[in-house]
């Protein structure tokens, strides 16, 4: 054995020998943490995992003997033990010298049992890492102290963040090879902080380590007295567990199986995805929306007073209501949404590329439905985070798409509840799992359960007003005449006895959207809120007129997707930039040209003209009055 090794300190041998009953009692109360290690071959990942297994004494003597033997024959550490060999797997891989998959390793300390997902760093990396990260409570991102933050580091961090892992450890490894330099460590941490902010990673814990030498793995390293934080293992023992965090969420349980052993018993079996449940709780079954009360929480060990996220239980209800596999039982007053169109991130995992329009099987919660990708939006370059226009996704590609399902399904945004927001896509021909998906939000909320209880529905509102509700969406450059034309259109409609409402950029920004600025993100949010308000107004039966620059196609598309078929009428107020700038009613172009105003559409921020607007009015050829007449004619025609 190498001299560098410390004695394993984390197995309480003495207690095992002295009082096994006390030992067992203590270990009954251990918790369990699942984590993933991310790093490339040279970052020392396998060595770190081997070290954790070794230091927690998960390696038996016979394994150690064969390890020592292997280390001499094929190891890379001379006469020292090559820990990497411990986490090697299949014979075929061993011969090729590569690992091809996700491997799960186990070790335990007095406080916790750990499951480590180990994913190799090579081209299949994205698929494997996403798989390993999907069940992880925490991620350890390894960096070689000599190399610093590399492209791979960015990729790993992006994926960890994408999968919603909140606890991230930045393990700066091989500190022994940079003379345990504090300066080098803080330089790397500073680089990484900058990058973490860019991808929206809220926090991370940096730890300087040496997997090979054992520094800051189990105990504090004497070689780095300047580091005051916890050792890696000490942190792993204290980090929060995802299931526990989900207990604060409203109750959700996807029904796996209906238990009917006889006519007197009907139980609904499932694993609680979020929240807490007690007998007497008012619950709702989605998508039907039927409500009842929990009668009992049945388990083999007796009925429970309470069950929490992570537990597998069986519920019985006070009332006989329909409920079957695929349904989701939710807290009655805080149900989740039900929808059939979503914006989602997809991670493509199959050789055969994603095809928009092709039906796949989408499995979410305990339900399988048919789904198609209706609109690929963009692909993300996982190395640079750039968005690339893409109509398809190849193996290991990540993209944002709109997905449509053949029926409405209960769901939650992945960021809020991975259990009801994460899904897989299955190829109908090969039955292979071809993609992992994460829902962002629903595009059309027509099936939302709150609305089912409404007796006076949107049709009733509209028919009373004797009109067809619609959103007339004016888009165009600043100064193109949107507000002027919209104003005339409203006057004309009003005179015809139509119930209308004009949502104007300025009046909205003074109230509803006063908290928003003019960054790209704020512009998108501005349009999203306007879209939602317009949507509510069409439900009230109104004809809604909006006048916003709304420069991006994707946001206009987003609003279009919110509306019922045929109720979104896009009016492109087509005015050349020169003409609009010449008019410059509000003096904004002048400010923008002089640099006083940033991100001004047409000057230093693009305007994407509509490709398929319902109405185009050219304000060079038409007066505002003529343009308005044309819009009214189209609306009522």
């Amino acid at each position: 054995m190498s001299k560098d090794m410390k004695d394993p300190v984390y197995v309480t041998d003495q207690l095992i020998a002295d009082d096994i009953d006390a030992y067992l009692l203590k270990h009954q109360h251990k918790t369990m943490l699942r984590f993933i290690t991310c790093g490339s071959v040279d970052d020392g990942k396998s060595t770190l995992i081997g070290r954790l297994l070794y230091d927690s004494k998960m390696i038996f003597e016979d394994q150690l003997a064969s390890l020592e033997n292997d280390s001499k024959n094929v190891g890379t550490q001379g006469q020292d033990i090559d820990f990497a060999l411990l986490v090697d797997g299949l014979a075929a891989e061993r011969e090729q010298g590569i690992t091809i998959d996700v491997a799960y390793r186990f070790f335990a300390t007095d406080k916790r049992k750990f499951i480590v997902a180990d994913t190799p760093g090579h081209e299949q990396y994205t698929r494997n890492m996403v798989t390993g990260a999907s069940t992880a409570d925490l991620a350890v991102i390894l960096i070689d102290a000599r190399q610093g933050v590399l492209t791979q580091t960015r990729r790993h961090s992006y994926l960890v963040n994408l999968l919603g892992i909140k606890n991230v450890v930045l393990a700066v490894n091989k500190m022994d090879l940079v003379d345990y330099s504090a300066e080098r460590f803080y330089e790397i941490v500073s680089d990484y902080s900058h990058f973490a902010k860019q991808i929206g990673m809220d926090s991370f814990l940096p730890i300087p380590i040496s997997g090979l030498k054992g520094d800051n793995i189990v105990t504090h390293s004497e070689n780095m007295p300047w580091y005051q934080g916890p050792s890696l293992l000490a942190h792993l023992e204290e980090a929060p567990i995802s299931d526990t965090a989900m207990q604060d969420h409203p109750f959700r349980m996807a029904v796996q199986w209906v238990n009917r052993p006889n006519l007197d018993f009907r139980g609904f079996a499932g694993q609680i995805g979020a929240g807490t449940v007690r007998p007497g709780d008012a619950i709702r079954v989605l998508p039907s929306g039927k409500t009842t009360t929990v009668k009992s929480i049945v388990t083999f060990d007796g009925n429970l007073d309470q069950a929490v996220a992570g537990q597998s239980i069986t519920l019985t209800f006070e009332d006989e209501i329909d409920c079957s596999r695929g349904d989701v039982i939710v807290q009655s007053d805080q149900p989740c949404e039900v929808a059939d169109q979503f914006e989602s991130t997809l991670v493509w995992m199959a050789e055969e590329a994603m095809l928009p329009g092709r039906p796949y099987i989408l499995k979410i919660g305990t339900q399988s439905v048919t789904a198609t990708v209706t609109e690929p939006k963009y692909e993300v370059n996982v190395n640079t985070m750039e968005h690339l226009a893409s109509k398809t996704l190849g193996l290991n590609a990540i993209g944002v798409v709109n997905i449509s399902t053949d029926r409405a399904i209960p769901f939650e945004a992945y960021a809020q509840n991975p259990d009801l927001g994460g899904f897989i896509l299955i190829d109908r021909m090969t039955n292979a799992t071809v993609a992992a998906g994460m829902i962002h939000f629903a595009l059309r909320r027509s099936q939302n359960i709150h609305w089912q209880a409404v007796d006076v529905d949107r049709d009733a509102h509209a028919s009373l007003k004797n009109q067809k509700p619609a959103v007339v969406w004016f888009t165009g450059l600043s100064g193109s005449g949107k507000s002027t034309i919209a104003n005339i259109v409203e006057k004309k409609l009003h005179a015809l006895g139509k119930h209308t409402f004009l949502l104007d950029g300025d009046n909205v920004r003074h109230g509803l959207n006063r908290d928003l600025g003019f960054t790209d993100a704020d512009r998108v949010e501005n349009i999203r809120r306007v879209g939602e308000v317009a949507r509510l107004m069409t439900d009230a039966g109104l004809i809604v007129l909006t006048a916003f620059i709304s420069p991006f196609r994707s946001e206009r598309r987003m609003v279009r997707d919110l509306m019922a078929e045929g109720e979104f009428i896009e009016v492109y107020v087509d005015t050349p930039l020169e003409v609009a700038e010449q008019r410059d009613v509000k003096g904004l172009y002048k400010k923008a040209r002089s640099g006083q105003l940033k991100n001004f559409t047409g000057i230093d921020s693009p305007y994407e003209a509509p490709e398929t607007a319902e109405i185009i009015v050219n304000t060079v050829e038409l007066t505002a009055e003529e343009a308005a007449e044309r819009v009214v004619a189209r609306l009522l025609g």
Binding site: F60, T244, Q271
Partner: protein, 311 residues
């Protein structure tokens, strides 16, 4: 459950223990199988892992009995004590017990003394394939764990086998979150391992905590053994052909794993209770499979056997 004082929200949270989380996961896996499979079966080998798996199945479907039969692919060479517990355990669980004997092996009198690895190949590997085909089972639960052997660390929980029951390590499906893709093509079958994430210590602790009955062979008592090829073999019945000079002697032994008695090495031990067994396990320095003759054949032999269809 371990109750922590307060979460960030100020509401007190209950953290599930590692055994509670493992139990919940295993139950979830079993229910997924039952909800999706046409004709599932649980492979039952009477060992401690099987005992644990059966116990979890009772929990998963309570108050109903587990809605599938137990299948024991027998070699006729198991310990007598195993047959006794097997029959009783099935009856107590309210489950149908199917016992399969490879007729060809039966006819040829295949035994561990004369036929070496052919014994395992025919009775177990071929026998399992025959039984699955005979009853047309599409999903079979097995008690294998990822910590048992290096090649198993990468095994999926839902492991797909071709129509001829072969395992292709390069063609397995990614398993994300709690989403298992249970769809299979014609002729394919699935082996499902609900104990994948349990370690040997977890199994023992759970047996202790839940009071699960296991075969008494796991506990030490004086038993007639002979020493052969470095293994202590128990003379469990009169089919055991003693070599010249071999006389069974009574020694206090127990077994860390159970299989065919002529292939299973005993260890000398004084552990007579479960805590003592666990104590011994924690203090020993050799891994679990050392007692099984099957592993010593060749390097990575488990993996080779798995590809051929032995579990």
């Amino acid at each position: 459950m371990t109750t922590s004082p307060a979460s960030e929200s100020g509401i007190s949270q209950a953290t599930l223990t590692h055994l509670q989380r493992l139990e919940a996961e295993s139950i979830h896996i079993m229910r997924e199988v039952v909800a999706n499979a046409d004709n599932p079966v649980m492979l039952y080998s009477v060992g401690k892992d099987s005992a644990c798996m059966l116990h979890l199945a009772k929990k998963a479907f309570y108050p109903a009995p587990p809605p599938f039969p137990l299948l024991h692919v027998d070699t006729t060479w198991k310990f007598q004590a195993m047959y006794q517990l097997r029959d009783r355990a099935a009856e107590e669980a309210g489950m149908k017990l199917l016992v399969h004997h490879n007729p060809e092996a039966m006819e040829k009198g295949i035994n561990p003394f004369d036929h070496g690895s052919l014994h395992t190949d025919m009775w177990k590997t071929d026998g399992l394939k025959q039984a699955l085909t005979k009853y047309n089972f599409d999903v079979a639960f097995g008690g294998a764990r990822r910590d048992e052997e290096k090649s198993r660390a990468k095994e999926r929980i839902f492991s797909f086998r071709s129509a001829n029951h072969r395992w292709d390590p390069k063609n397995q499906r990614p398993e994300l979150w709690r989403q298992y893709n249970t769809r299979k093509s014609k002729g394919e079958s699935i082996r499902v391992f609900p104990l994948s994430n349990w370690t040997e210590l977890d199994i023992w602790q759970y047996i202790h905590l839940e009071g699960i009955e296991i075969v008494p062979l796991y506990f030490s008592q004086p038993r007639p053994v002979v020493e052969r090829d470095g293994l202590l073999i128990m003379v469990d019945d009169d089919r055991f052909p003693l070599r010249d000079g071999e006389t069974p002697e009574m020694r206090s032994v127990r077994f860390r794993t159970l299989g065919c008695y002529p292939l299973t090495g005993a260890v000398e031990s004084t552990a007579q209770t479960l805590p003592e067994v666990i104590q011994e396990m924690l203090l020993t320095t050799t891994s679990e499979r050392q007692g099984r003759a099957i592993d010593h054949d060749q390097s990575a032999s488990m993996e080779k056997k798995k590809q051929e269809g032995y579990f």
